[in-house]
Amino acid sequence: MEPTPIVELKNLSKTIRGKKIIDDLSLQLYPGQITGFLGPNGAGKTTTIRMMVGLMKKSGGEVVIDGQTLSADFEEALSKVGVIVENPEMYKFMSGYKNLLHFARMQKGVTKERIDEVVKQVGMQNRIHEKVATYSLGMRQRLGLAQALLHRPKFLILDEPTNGLDPAGIREFREYLRLIAKTENVSVFVSSHMLSEIELMCDRIAVIQNGKLVDLRDMSESQEAHYYVEAFPADQTFELLRSLGFKSESVNEGFVIQAEKTQIPELVKALSTAGLELYAIQPHRKTLEDQFLELTGGGQLAETASK
């Protein structure tokens, strides 16, 4: 049974100066699940996220958060959401604590004790009373996270959260997200251009291109069984694979085929009876990057990587 979604985008659209930036986008996000949001630059990731948090007005459709429509009941709907938009820009001239106090005052029911609790959770208790201007990027990121968690949101939305973090910082951040998704049953929505990052962090990915949702899949599902076969001569190998009914794709000097584990002994036998010289046969794991480029077309690789 499908659980009820915490966030629903219903036919969301955005038109800027006659140009459709987001076109009829529908998406459901569920509690306890981390959903990655991927797309080449200019696909509309940031626009979508900004419409979800009230920074931009939608041109059509609806954003429903925990049963409340964002446009009709802005305050009620947003009170369930924690947001980190890119690098969290805090008031640099104030201490971390005053920043948290500032954002706590904008929510109902965030007590001083809760602030202290969150500060401890993100491990900032030693420096929280120092000015934000003195913080490193990693600390600002943690302060941003603390800010987003103050009001115990049911839904956490993060736009490029790991921008500029070092590998240790990224890892810490990722593990922390997984933890709160699991323990507090929070639904997390992360946009990122770092595919490997998304791959490690997410349960599910949504891919957007030219303002349309082009793919939505569970990560487990995306790891279909693939095998890499390298045999000589190649053209005969290709013929044989085809005659056996495998879909094959030329990769490096061999082929990647879609096959179940149980089919492999059969294949090996077939190859040797045909007198082909088998050099390698091994499980092949398609990375998210391969899949992503397949989906969106390789031409945008440069753009995606350079964001």
């Binding site: 900004r50 007005k57 005052r105 904008m106 800010q147």
Partner: protein, 311 residues
């Protein structure tokens, strides 16, 4: 709303610049009093108030007789004549500008408070954009008009505070630098000459100049929130503040000048001897200013609440 106001107030006073501005104001007012004391001692004329009042009276009478005065200017001249005659007949000395009473009677706090309030008003929205904090501020469950209101209230509160600090500093420096010289301020009320307390008149002047503070600061608030640039907001606001009377002078032949904001910004003119335009009165000025104020606020709020945050 109170919490939002608390937030704005906290942000305001967490900036060093705010403390520097408030300190600067105190220093400037004391320095001005010191300079007044010094220049007053240079003049050193023991002139008789009766002689100067007599010549003032004759001037006013001549102007009235020539018939060039109309409207508000005529009224002011007539009142001055009445007061001067009263002084001479009853032997009531006027206040000396360079005395303790004169300073309190006419405190010059308005223009400094205006300048500093404009700087705060210009930056209070614009700086959220330039710091990038606007994204954090507007993704919290608070409607944008509430945020705008808390910011506007913070500006007004800051303006009031500066006026009070300025007035207190003025009183202190008046007591430190100047001796009491007596004298009595007079005014016309209901056709009769009445005595005016220096304190109530001082506060009244403060109130009149505070209207200018509000108007100019609201203008700066509007420019700052529409163009997201505090520099531009400060520049334009001070431009209209300083060039206003020049523009009124240039356009004085036209009827439209009555409805320009510049004509009305400085309400303290009604307590002086010179009104920029003869066809206007204090209540007319207040109405015109109210219309402008509402227009500025409508523009600020509309732009701010409708804007897509893309930066």
């Amino acid at each position: 709303m109170l919490k939002l106001l608390q937030n704005e107030w906290m942000k305001l006073w967490s900036k060093k610049g705010t403390w520097i501005m408030a300190g600067l104001m105190v220093v400037l007012i004391i320095a001005m009093a010191g300079i007044m004391k010094w220049s007053g001692s240079l003049m050193d004329d023991e002139s008789d108030w009766k002689l100067s009042t007599q010549s003032e009276l004759e001037n006013d009478k001549n102007s009235l007789a020539s018939g060039i005065l109309k409207g508000e200017s005529k009224r002011l001249a007539e009142e001055n004549v009445q007061i001067s005659e009263y002084r001479l007949a009853n032997d009531v000395a006027p206040l000396n500008d360079f005395s303790r009473e004169g300073m309190i009677y006419n405190p010059s706090v308005g223009s400094i408070a205006l300048l500093l309030t404009v700087i705060v008003a210009a930056g209070i929205v614009a700086s959220e954009f330039s710091q990038g904090t606007i994204k954090m501020l507007l993704t919290r469950p608070v409607k944008r008009w509430k945020i705008m209101t808390s910011k506007y209230l913070a500006i007004l509160l800051f303006g009031v505070l500066l006026m009070l600090i300025g007035f207190i500093t003025t009183i202190l420096s008046a007591f430190i630098f100047f001796p009491s010289e007596g004298g009595q301020a007079l005014a016309i009320s209901g056709g009769n000459v009445v005595e005016v307390s220096i304190w109530s008149h001082g506060l009244y002047m403060l109130l009149l100049s505070f209207v200018n503070v509000i108007i100019t600061a609201t203008f700066a608030f509007m420019i700052g929130s529409v163009f997201r640039s505090s520099g531009m907001a400060i520049g334009l606001s001070l431009f209209i503040y300083f060039t206003g009377s020049v523009i009124v002078g240039l356009l004085s032949r036209f009827e439209i000048v009555k409805y320009l904001i510049f004509t009305h910004m400085d309400l303290t003119m009604y307590e002086s001897n010179y009104v920029l335009n003869d066809d206007i009165t204090l209540s007319f000025s207040l109405v015109v200013l109210a219309v402008y104020l509402v227009a500025f606020l409508i523009v600020s709020y509309t732009v701010f609440t409708k804007r897509d945050i893309t930066a």
